[in-house]
Amino acid sequence: MALMRTMVALLLLVIAFGAAAGGIELREFDDPVMEKRYHDLTASMRCPLCENQAINDSDAPISGDMRERVYQLLQDGQSDIEIVNHMVQRFGEYILYNPRLESRTYLLWGLPIALVLLGALVVVLMIRARRNASAKALSAEERQRIDALINRKRSS
C-alpha cells in the first residue's frame, strides 16, 4: 500500500514537471479568430531543429522565437499566407507540414493519386478479363467432348 502511494506520488510529480517543462507561453488575444489562426499556424509549422515536432509543441529556443514572430505578425495584421511566406523565406520549405504544390512537389502530391488510378486500372482489367473468359462460348466440338466426359462419369 505504501509502495502504491509512493508510486502515485511519483507519477503525479512527473506529470506536474512535464506540464511545467512544456514551456508554451500564455498569449492574450483580443479576437478568438486570431487565436484560432495562431494555433493553426503554429501547429502547421515544423520546428527546424527537432524534426518531428510542430513549433507549438517544441521546447527548442528557435520554436519559441518562431511562435513569438507568428504572434507579432498576427498583431501587425498580416495574413496567414504572408506569415507562412515570412517563415519559409528564412527557414525553407522544410518547415511546412503540408508542402506547397509546385514543380518540386508534384511527385509527392501526385504519387498517391497515380497509385490509386493504377490500382483502379488493374481492377478494371482483371474484371474485364474474367468476364471475357466466362462469356466465351464453347465450340460444338468442345461441347461434345464435355458431354461425353460427363456421361462417362454417370454411367460408371
Binding site: 529556443p61 528557435i62 522565437d65 528564412r90 525553407g92 522544410y94 488493374v122 482489367l125
Partner: protein
C-alpha cells in the same frame, strides 16, 4: 502474354517504390541547404560587440568575399571550431562574426579566451539577425560574395577537414 505483363506490373511498382523509399529514408534530414542560398544577405542594423556606439548594416558585407560565423559564448561547438576559424583568418579570408543571443561581457570574454579571428562582430542579443538568416542553432557559417549574396552555408561545427574540403574551395570559387 498480356496477362504476364500485367502480373509483372506489380513487382515492378513494388521495386520502384522500395528503391524510392530506400533512397529517401537514407537521406539525413538535418543536412539541408539554407533557404537563403543565392539570396542577398538580409538587411539589418546593429551595433558591434566591442562598441555599443558603432552602428553597422548590410553594407558591411559588400566589396569582399566574407565568411560570416554565427556564434555565442553559450555554444560549446563554437569554442571547438575557433582554431579552424583562426586558421582561415590567417589565410587572409575576411571574417565577420555574429554574436548571437549573448551578452557583451560574455562575448568579449569568449574572444579573449579562444582568440578573435573576426574583423568585426555584429552584436545580436535578441537573435533578430539570426532569425532573418534562418539560424536555428549556433554555430552556423555563411559565405557571402563581394556583392553581398550568400553563396554557401555550413551548419554546425567546422572541422579541420571541412576547412580543407569545403570552406577553402568555396572561398576560392567565389573570389
Amino acid at each position: 502474354m498480356k496477362r504476364r505483363l500485367l502480373l509483372l506490373l506489380l513487382p515492378v511498382c513494388f521495386l520502384g517504390l522500395a528503391l524510392f523509399f530506400f533512397q529517401g529514408l537514407s537521406l539525413d534530414p538535418s543536412q539541408r541547404d539554407s533557404a537563403l542560398m543565392a539570396r542577398e544577405f538580409p538587411a539589418f542594423e546593429a551595433t558591434t560587440l566591442r562598441d555599443k556606439n558603432q552602428r553597422v548594416d548590410q553594407s558591411l558585407l559588400q566589396g569582399d568575399v566574407t565568411l560570416v560565423n554565427v556564434w555565442g559564448e553559450w555554444c560549446p561547438a563554437c569554442k571547438q571550431e575557433m582554431p579552424q576559424l583562426l586558421e582561415l583568418a590567417d589565410q587572409d579570408i575576411r571574417m565577420v562574426g555574429v554574436n548571437y543571443r549573448d551578452t557583451r561581457e560574455k562575448g568579449m570574454e569568449f574572444l579573449s579566451e579562444f582568440g578573435d579571428p573576426f574583423e568585426v562582430n555584429i552584436f545580436d542579443p535578441e537573435g533578430e539577425l539570426g532569425f532573418d538568416l534562418g539560424v536555428y542553432g549556433a554555430p552556423e557559417t555563411f559565405l557571402v560574395d563581394a556583392d553581398g549574396v550568400i553563396r554557401y552555408h555550413h551548419k554546425g561545427y567546422v572541422s579541420p577537414q571541412d576547412v580543407r574540403e569545403r570552406i577553402l574551395p568555396e572561398v576560392e570559387k567565389w573570389r
